[in-house]
């Protein structure tokens, strides 16, 4: 069995030669939360819809759970919560889950138990027998999430799964995602909400203007630069005299208890002790040094800018 649950090779879907996604070569390992990141209109949903066989690829190929996309067998162990979720409004929440259980081939004897458990998990037990027509947007997203899990899928595609939820609902979805990962499931999380991805994803791919910018372990991708924050007295003069080749940026970001707080960007982690030594020798009295991890937003912008720069170089 391959370690990758999704493998796409130059998968392309273009609409009249425009938009969509282009040459996406992706490997999604099993049992991870895979964040597929990109701004609105980047091609994230197009890629997911192509994987699910809702749209036909223009070129390229892909397999999902070892089976070619577009085949019925490939979708047997897959759950999907679309970004634009809509369900038959005349059904009740419970009836919707029963319908999806039937469509997914869940054994008859197991259905009730599984439906009750999922309704409880998404917090809709009390309104399970109400018509979806009367559900709020958030409730519809919750019932959609339950429907996507009804077949106990190995692979779950969640396209902007918290777009209609309040902060509590978002937290609950994050907890659910973590719980599903612990059960060994793979979650393909499509999102433009960087904070959401940052908190739950171990693997990330960034897509921009239909093209894959980068993919890999979040830990590795986020290792883009070293940033430290130093709280010290006499930093102004020390900084003026500091001439270290590893320091690529300095910025005074605030003050606390009469001491200045400076943010330094270094191009390598190894330079930290040396920089601190030099600042001390220049007269800075250092009280605190904090290593700052880059946020997903920083990582995201870094990789997009880097790609743009590479393109600029290529064009020249």
């Amino acid at each position: 069995m391959s370690d990758s649950i999704i493998q796409s090779r130059r998968l392309t879907k273009q609409y009249d030669g425009k938009a969509g996604c282009k040459n996406i070569t992706l490997d999604v390992p099993r049992g991870v939360v895979f964040g597929f990141l990109g701004p609105n209109g980047a091609g994230k949903s197009t890629f997911v819809r192509t994987m699910l066989g809702l749209i036909k690829p223009t070129s390229g190929e892909a397999v999902m759970l070892g089976l070619p996309i577009g085949s019925v067998a490939a979708r047997r162990n897959v759950g999907y919560l679309p970004e634009l979720f809509r369900y038959p409004e005349w059904l009740t929440g419970r009836q919707l889950l029963q319908t999806h259980a039937e469509l997914s081939g869940v054994p008859y004897g197991e259905r009730k138990k599984r439906i009750d458990a999922l309704l409880d998990r998404v917090g809709l037990t009390a309104s399970a027998d109400e018509k979806i027509k009367g559900y709020s947007k958030g409730m519809q997203q919750r019932i959609g999430l339950a429907a996507s899990l009804i077949s106990d899928p190995e692979l779950l595609f969640l396209d902007e799964p918290t777009s209609a939820l309040d902060p509590i609902g978002r937290k609950e979805v994050r907890e659910l995602i973590t719980e599903l990962r612990e059960q060994g499931k793979t979650i393909f999380l499509n999102s433009h909400l960087l904070s959401e991805v940052e908190s739950v994803c171990d693997h990330v791919a960034i897509i921009h203007k239909g093209e894959l910018i980068v993919q890999g372990l979040w830990r590795e991708l986020s290792d883009i630069r070293t940033t430290i924050e130093i709280m010290a007295a006499g930093m102004g003069e020390a900084m003026a005299r500091l001439d270290h080749p590893a320091v690529t940026g300095t910025e005074r970001v605030g003050a606390k208890e009469g001491k200045d707080i400076w943010r330094l960007t270094l191009d390598e982690e190894e330079a930290i002790p040396d920089v601190i030594d030099r600042l001390s020798s220049q007269g800075a009295r250092i009280y605190q040094v904090v290593r700052k991890e880059p946020g997903l937003e920083d990582v995201f912008i870094y990789w997009i800018n880097r790609k743009e720069m590479e393109r600029g170089v290529d064009r020249r």
Binding site: L52, R75, P82, Y87
Partner: protein, 290 residues
């Protein structure tokens, strides 16, 4: 496929259009029943003691076939409009609202969706059409009196009812083709125009037959080839009225009968037309981006 069929069957029951149509159909049947009852009495009164005259028998049979024809034609229009309105958005509407996304993300062949819709919608509409047909026949039989009661055997009624029920099935097939190919609004407009062509073409063909005007008959034939729903209705009336023990074919009288009768080949064409539409719907939907 059966889950989709069940879902489609239930969905139409929940839709307001179905409830409205059922209520309006009941109102129509009540209205038609009252009209039949009073017309039967009035015509019987007019014929008086001449009722047994050959001339009066012809008149009586003319009125009975016309009255029954009116009822069945109206019933056909109601069943057809319900079939169009409920089926033309069956696939396109769900694509437009994105309800189709979660359905197709399941381990389901796309053909199961189309066939399921056909079975669900077609089953319910066939049942509705059969009830409407039975209602009209019963009204004619029980309220038409001696004058308006058409001479129709049980076997004839069943056979004609079968052709009547085929009408919404043909419409559902064609509606699903349009629904698989284009938007609800475009499909609806095209299907209603096609229905109009068949409707008007049917009358033109009958008028052409009465006047022995070949070009008019040909126009009717072409319109039947484009959309053969009216031919199905004409075939139904022939089956219903043209009795073996009746020396005069009353199907060849009046605008609801058939002067220019559809051939057996036409019937085969209608069946092929419906099947071809359904197969094309399967093919189109299979290839369509959702």
């Amino acid at each position: 496929m059966w889950t989709v069929a069940k879902l489609s069957f239930k969905e139409i029951l929940y839709k307001r259009i179905f409830l409205i149509t059922v209520l309006m159909s009941l109102a129509f049947l009540v209205f038609y029943g009252i009209a039949t009852y009073y017309a039967g009495g009035k015509i019987a009164e007019g014929l008086g003691s001449r009722a047994a005259d050959p001339d009066a028998i012809l008149q009586r049979q003319f009125f009975s076939s016309q009255f029954l024809g009116i009822g069945l034609y109206m019933a056909s229009i109601i069943a057809s409009l319900l079939a169009i309105l409920s089926s033309v958005g069956a696939i396109a509407g769900e694509i437009e609202s994105h309800q189709m996304d979660t359905l197709l993300a399941r381990p389901l062949h796309r053909r199961s969706v189309v066939l399921g819709k056909f079975i669900g919608l077609g089953g319910l509409l066939a049942l509705y059409a059969a009830c409407l047909f039975t209602g009209i026949i019963c009204i004619n039989r029980w309220l038409g009196g001696d004058v308006l009661q058409a001479s129709v055997s049980f076997g004839q009624a069943c056979k004609a009812g079968g052709f009547f029920v085929l009408q919404p099935l043909l419409l559902v097939s064609v509606a699903l083709l349009f629904s698989s190919t284009m938007s609800t609004i475009n499909g609806g407009v095209i299907l209603i125009i096609l229905y109009g062509i068949g409707f008007v073409g049917g009358f033109i063909e009958q008028i052409g037959g009465l006047l022995d005007n070949r070009p008019l008959v040909n126009i009717g034939i072409v319109s039947s080839l484009v959309f053969p729903l009216d031919s199905l209705f004409r075939h139904m009336t022939i089956t219903l009225f043209d009795t073996a023990d009746d020396p005069i074919s009353f199907a060849s009288q009046g605008i609801f009968g058939s002067v220019s009768a559809p051939s057996g080949l036409m019937l085969a064409y209608i069946v092929c037309y419906g099947i071809a539409a359904l197969l094309l719907a399967l093919r189109k939907f299979e290839r369509r981006d959702i």
